[in-house]
């Protein structure tokens, strides 16, 4: 009698275990070490924060998030191995939190899914793919610079761009946008190992040039700012998107030129978002991030937030998120609420555009909306 009762209990327990839904596997490819670690670790912090928050609230539809992060060191061959591994493990989607070369290498692997979400502005995914970009593209950023130049009555710009893949994207965008708008582009390239940018700046910052743009990110961007200061150039200097961080500001605060400008999503200065929902979400994220990590969130963290918002929308609203075709169709037809709402379509897999970009200026250690150059 007691044996049959025990058997019944065991069968019931086994049934209960079977009914427990497994976690949702999300893959993340990010350079946690190597030359781009500063990008990878920032995006990873936003992903981790999201996964922990979801899991603390009991998961999505009763399923916890299992975030598996693979360190590609920004090396394309490692990124490919990471994606293959995640596909074998059954990842529902992959966060492509690496740099241009890695992202380009990853894209062919997801031709049949899963979804690949990309926060980099440098890789524009084709609309027939399963890749979606949650950032404005580099072309959009350059369009925003051109618009700012028009507002300032300028038609010439000096530009310093790195010799790597990201620099190449920046140069292509600049040639297209400034060329289309009949603006003069004076360009100098700088090697990634450069210890001085004075000759590049001497090349592009003539007296007739009223704005200099450096598309460089990281330690190289600091070299450009310091050389700019040493040369005593009077023009405003604009730095790129990836430099809108506390780390960058703390490095250049004592050597900043008279006006230091930057390209940014508007959410970095949430009070300038006209949509109340976006403003609220952006501010909530900035506060939560600062509380969790005891550091000021930056542009890259914000893009990480946009990425996890898109992921969460898919996980919550697509009945079977593992069905990549259904997830793709959902994203192409449904705007996603985020710090700046993402709008994809069957012909466009870039969620933001030039109108989501703002030219900002560093004032007293904070980024504010930049006034035109007078």
């Amino acid at each position: 009698m007691s044996r049959s009762l025990l058997c019944t209990l065991l069968v019931c327990a086994a049934g209960a275990v079977q009914a427990q839904p497994g976690p949702i596997l999300i893959g993340e490819v990010a350079p946690l070490t190597g030359p781009a670690a500063t990008v990878g670790t920032r995006l990873n912090k936003a992903s981790k924060m999201w996964a922990d928050d979801i899991n603390a609230k009991g998961g999505i539809n009763g399923r916890k998030i299992e975030l598996v992060t693979c360190n590609d060191e920004a090396r394309p061959e490692k990124a490919v191995a990471c994606v293959r591994d995640m596909q074998e493990k059954g990842a529902v989607m992959v966060f492509g939190n690496s740099l241009t070369a890695s992202l380009r290498a990853m894209q062919p692997l997801v031709k049949q899914g899963p979804l690949l979400l990309i926060p980099s502005p440098n890789v524009v995914p084709p609309a027939d793919s399963y890749a979606f970009q949650v950032s404005p593209s580099d072309l959009h950023l350059t369009e925003a610079i051109a618009k700012y130049m028009k507002e300032s009555g300028l038609n010439k710009i000096g530009m310093v761009a790195a010799t790597d893949a990201s620099g190449e994207v920046g140069v292509e965008s600049a040639k297209k946008v400034f060329g289309d708008q009949k603006m003069e582009l004076r360009l100098a390239r700088i090697d990634l190992r450069a210890t001085d940018a004075s000759t590049q700046l001497a090349n592009v910052a003539g007296q007739d040039i009223k704005l200099v743009y450096s598309s460089y990110t990281g330690a190289g961007a600091v070299t450009v700012v310091k050389s700019f200061k040493i040369l005593g150039l009077p023009q405003p200097l604009m730095v790129s998107y990836g430099n809108m961080s506390e780390a960058f500001v703390s490095l250049i605060k004592d050597v900043a030129p008279p006006r230091l400008l930057g390209t940014s999503v508007i959410a970095l200065v949430p009070e300038h978002l006209s949509n109340a929902g976006e403003r609220e979400r952006a501010q909530a994220f900035l506060d939560a991030y600062a509380k969790r990590y005891s550091e000021k969130p930056d542009m890259i963290n914000l893009l990480g937030k946009a990425e996890v918002d898109v992921a969460e929308a898919v996980l919550r609203k697509v009945p079977n998120p593992a069905d990549a075709a259904a997830a793709k169709k959902f994203l192409e037809s449904t705007p996603v609420e985020s710090i700046q709402n993402q709008r994809f379509s069957p012909t466009n897999h870039v969620g933001l555009d030039a109108s989501s970009v703002m030219i900002v200026e560093l004032k007293d250690g904070n980024w504010i909306k930049a006034q035109p150059i007078r």
Partner: protein
């Protein structure tokens, strides 16, 4: 602004870095017969440590002194505790060990300092010097003077003094050198120490003009290696190859564009290597 003058100034500053790092590599190679691929780590350690110590409130001078001490201690420990006990191992294996040590330092720097670039204020501040349409900051002047001055002093010491020649003899024939009373172990330890000190000084002088992060070490080793290889591992030669490379790199960047820098620089390195090896037959023997 005059582009040519600025290119010369920039070239002198870049050349000083090449010379600073190249002479350290040559010194260790000519004394211990090892190409120390962790040589540039003394630059990175000095930069990250000085930035962190200065940020913690230590006066800049003290922070730099302590950081340089840590960098030199690392190089001495690498020799004393890692390479010396394996002195009989093949040279190729020892070189790989130094590469491994460089990666260990990278990891340590990430753990201690994080992945973001860091910097610290210039030791020599003040208004930049404007000369013939070019601009150089006081820290840049110090870099040029100490870079070429320091590397020339080491080269002269090695080539023209008795104790310098003893250092070189320790590598040419360590057993004969010992029989003649040269303390080979001390000579090698001295070489690692001076080499690291030069790398650390390069960091102390250059980093305020740029920024440094955990991965800067190997890039600096590569710079030193190019200068050292072009000079044929010659102590005097590396000062001139450093100067030439700096000016060449700057002019290529200014007049041809940075995209041409790597092909031109490495093309030059290959051409020099072929020229230097013109007497070597296949199999290693020398042509008459």
């Amino acid at each position: 602004m005059n582009l040519l003058t600025q290119a010369v100034i920039s070239g002198l500053m870049i050349g000083a870095v090449y010379a600073f790092l190249g002479i350290g590599l040559v010194l260790v190679y000519r004394t211990a017969r090892i190409l120390n691929l962790a040589h540039g780590e003394s630059f990175a350690i000095t930069g990250v440590a000085a930035a962190m110590l200065a940020k913690s409130g230590l006066p800049l001078g003290a922070a730099l002194a302590l950081a340089i001490l840590i960098a030199v201690a690392f190089a001495l420990s690498l020799h004393r505790f890692v390479l010396r006990p394996r002195a009989e191992w093949p040279a190729g294996t020892l070189i790989l060990i130094t590469l491994g040590a460089a990666f260990v330092v990278r990891g340590m720097l990430i753990l201690v300092g994080g992945t973001d670039p860091v910097s610290f204020p210039a030791l020599f501040s003040g208004a930049p010097l404007r000369i013939a349409g070019g601009v150089i900051p006081p820290q840049g002047i110090a870099l040029v003077l100490l870079g070429f001055g320091g590397s020339t002093a080491v080269a002269v010491y090695l080539e023209m003094t008795r104790s310098g020649k003893q250092l070189l003899a320790a590598a040419e024939n360590p057993y004969a050198a010992e029989l003649l009373g040269v303390n080979v172990e001390r000579a090698r330890l001295t070489a690692y120490g001076i080499g690291a000190l030069l790398g650390a000084l390069a960091g102390a002088l250059l980093i305020p003009l740029i920024a440094v992060d955990f991965q800067s070490g190997l890039a600096m080793t590569l710079r030193g290696f190019i200068a050292a290889a072009i000079s044929g591992m010659s102590p005097i030669g590396v000062v001139f190859s450093g100067l030439g490379l700096g000016l060449f790199e700057s002019w290529v960047g200014a007049y041809l564009g940075a995209l041409y820098q790597d092909p031109v620089m490495f093309g030059l390195l290959i051409a020099v290597a072929l020229w230097q090896s013109r007497h070597i037959r296949f199999g290693g023997t020398r042509r008459a």
